[in-house]
Subunit: 397 residues, 2 copies
């Protein structure tokens, strides 16, 4: 078993282990205060209700719940998602606009499979979601970062890049409480992105895992709601409003495009877990998910407020940070001479973990940035962890 | 939403909907007698036990069961699989040899991602598993069919093809109760395949979804058990011995290679459903899966015996068929002038479904073949369905 000399596919040389997942392995010890992962607060999981829906689904429909099913996904769940998106995202979907996926990550991977050829260019925010880079990189694309400010991609710069760049195939964006920065796109930028997508025939992947988690400011319509030509695909997930362990999300868009996603998923893994889909549908039928989401928002708001207050009070001069209106993450910029990877080494000695921001830039650089998660730790640990982190930062600055 | 003019990736032009999945949609009406799908018998699902383990896992460990977890999979489940394979497949694995996947189909897709570049050649049995063709086709490979008889691939012909063909990257085989033919490879052919894999440095994907379902003849060691160089990967799944709705399978092999699969899976969908993995592990801890598998084998043997008897008694002269020693499928060859797709049209009028065999040949032809599933229908429906199918066949021959 030790003479292996196989040749891997070329794409494998581009993949490396997720830095976040490697850091998460270190943070598994209970004394570690972790601002690293994008983990929801486990104490909010609706455990009692899940035990109940598990039992009901199996008593009512075990034959179908445990059997193979369609690639498209469980029809009642697809209908619920379509209606939900019509209410919250300003879309006009029915069930056939929705494919159930194995979490948002699969929505991104399938987007690569459906649209991206080797050598294509993908335009993305700067910084952008690390695991999206990993997913798309496997398809051999080049990443071009679009200059981004607190209102989202600068759409005038975006248009220039579309015009100047060969083989632009798709634009990847996270308009709500972006990972990693926590930023939210302004309304005008959303409209303008949809316009550019139609004008230039460029696909937009609108990744929206956190859209339901707004705890401040006013809800804004999705980019998809301004889409005139059907070029915009939008993702969603139950990971952040229910439980990530279920691995159930979706991709939504034009019905002809979704048919292509169905084909791609069929060869990839046939279908999602039938039981999990039926359990979530039963939960949505029997319980009030809006009340549950209100609880999540309220807890995350308290934690965000606390983390921002700690940053304001404890972080040294020269450190700037975002004040997100929702989601899971805040973003920190250190003075340019400070490398956040060095900070992490010291911080781990103090039993505090975070993710250095450099990994979120597909073409490197920006090593003076950090991503902080505020959803996963209870208040007293946020206070303690931020005190320790501030102390480490003061030693660097 | 109707002006879509997006450009898909080139690979999408090679994908088409699974004929089986399209036929399965027609067979959903309860009066249809279906020999089409590869569906386990739902009346054997351990429903009571599953309700129990769902409850126990959530009461004991909801925080972790509903949360994100590692890409590799739930450690106790990986350990169980390693030990199981060491017992049944003659391997020498520990947990690090195992990656939990979203069913065997994902094991195949990830194999494509890890190993296959556009233009590579994949050698396969003739016929072979339809959905494996779909999975590998997305990576732009060429299929070369290796002449195959009742003992498996003809390994002398295989060696000739390895020598004569450029860019042979991998060999895909299903040695136990093959899908679609029900055939099982002879011992010598297994040894010889392992030898050729080492001698020529060619990867072998040994797909083994049905290995546990032997109800006649003697168990044979896996190809992997004869692997000297670590080039052989072997799949497994809980779909056929537990429930397919869970979508939990695995890929096993050399630890360095499995690390590459872990990387590939990380970008594809992060990880499998945490709760599902823990529920299966709890089932394996609390209940006797061997007793459960004995029940499955016994029921499938009865159904296989019945289907073979019906074919012997009712099918017209000139029709030949396999007598599988396990698994889910029998394979039928009609006289060469009869097209099984025409037979299917008439058969569906009689409310009997099956899958025409032509789709299982990656390079076409062989339209006079059919795949019959015997696991899913109870005995009286097998008798009735086979009577009707025989009547249709007699009209053609």
């Amino acid at each position: 078993m030790s003479n292996v000399a196989v040749t891997y596919a070329k794409r494998m040389s581009k993949l490396k282990a997720s830095e976040i997942r490697e850091i998460l392995k270190v943070t598994e010890s209970p004394e570690m205060i972790s601002f690293a992962g994008g983990l929801p607060a486990p104490e909010l999981f609706p455990v009692k209700e899940i035990i109940e829906v598990n039992r009901i689904v199996l008593e009512e429909a075990a034959d179908s719940a445990l059997q193979y099913s369609t690639t498209e996904g469980f029809a009642p769940l697809r209908r619920w998602i379509a209606e939900r998106m019509n209410t919250t995202q300003g879309t006009a979907f029915d069930a056939d606009n929705i494919l159930i996926t194995h979490g948002s990550q699969q929505s991104l991977d399938l987007s690569g499979k459906v649209f991206l050829d080797e050598g294509d260019v993908l335009l993305c925010e700067s910084p952008t979601y690390l695991a999206a880079i990993t997913a798309f990189r496997a398809y051999g694309v080049h990443f071009v970062s679009v200059p981004t400010d607190d209102d989202g991609m600068k759409t005038d710069e975006l248009e220039k890049l579309i015009n100047e760049t060969d083989r632009v195939k798709a634009i990847y964006v996270i308009p709500n409480f972006q990972n990693p920065t926590g930023r939210t796109w302004a309304l005008e930028r959303r409209k303008e992105l949809a316009r550019l997508s139609a004008a230039y025939g460029v696909v937009v992947i609108e990744d929206n895992p956190y859209g339901e988690l707004r705890f401040a400011g006013e809800a804004l319509p999705s980019v998809k709601s301004f889409d005139t030509d059907g070029n915009v695909l939008i993702t969603g997930t139950f990971s952040k409003i229910f439980c990530p362990g279920y691995r159930i999300g979706w991709i939504a868009g034009d019905k002809d495009i979704i048919k292509k996603y169905v084909l791609a998923k069929q060869g990839t893994d046939l279908q999602c877990n039938t039981l999990a889909q039926m359990q979530i549908a039963k939960y949505l039928e029997l319980y009030d998910i809006d009340a549950h989401i209100r609880t999540i928002r309220s807890v995350y708001k308290t934690r965000r407020d606390l983390m921002v207050k700690m940053m304001e009070n404890e972080f040294p001069e020269g450190v700037t940070f975002t004040r997100p209106q929702g989601g899971l993450f805040a973003w920190v910029e250190l003075p340019s001479h400070v490398n956040a990877r060095d900070v992490l080494i010291k911080s781990l000695e103090e039993k505090v973990a975070f993710v250095p921001g450099g990994s979120f830039f597909p073409n490197g650089g920006h090593e003076n940035t950090m991503r902080l998660n505020f959803s996963n730790m209870p208040e007293e640990r946020i206070v303690e962890g931020m005190k320790r982190l501030a102390k480490v930062l003061r030693a660097f600055i």
